[in-house]
């Protein structure tokens, strides 16, 4: 899936995937998509919750070889 920015958060433990996603999202405009890759097992629920709390939309997510991938559309 196409994205406007990519964040590699692999190897980071809670709460860093969320903190880094917040920072990365600041560079995007409304409607643009951030792609995030993380290996923290908690990130699946955390990034979903984070997106919800900010009104952003997880348009797609996937898990491949222990990497959790998210495409988040900025509100």
């Amino acid at each position: 899936m196409e994205s406007n920015k990519f964040l590699d958060a692999k190897g980071f433990a809670c709460p860093m995937p969320v903190v880094r996603t917040k920072k990365a999202m600041e560079d995007l405009n409304s409607g643009e998509i951030l792609e995030v890759h993380a290996t923290d097992k908690g990130s699946k629920s955390d990034l979903t919750a984070w997106a919800k709390s900010g009104g952003h939309t997880v348009v797609q997510d996937a898990e491949e070889d222990g990497v959790f991938k998210f495409w988040i559309k900025k509100a």
């Binding site: 980071f12 433990a13 709460p15 969320v18 903190v19 955390d46 984070w50 709390s53 900010g54």
Partner: protein, 132 residues
Amino acid sequence: MANTKVAIIAANGSLFDAYKVFNVATAAAASDAEVGIFFTFEGLNLIHKEAHKNLPLPEGKEHFEEGFKQANVPSIEELVGIAQELNIKIIACQMTMDVMNLEKEAFIDGIEVGGAASFIEYAKDANITLSF
């Protein structure tokens, strides 16, 4: 989470306590909540300029040190920096500082010093209140 206010009391000073406080606080601030933490008694270690860089594991839990390394958790120093960057309000307890004979200069930059009433005033309209 904008328009959500989180009020936290940090009253203990081990490495475990530091992670409990700063993980929840930075996650909340990263979700656009307004976050304030009142550091009191041993909790002051968490924002002491030197002490926060080398907090002890709780007695009998020293074997978790390896687990912290393996899980690649951020250091407390790093989390404190993120807390400051995310504008988390940090209130150090004046009374504890007086008892322990500590000055404001002994702590990380950007803190406020206040008493219990300062925290209560901040927390009175909080949506989430936590104590660690």
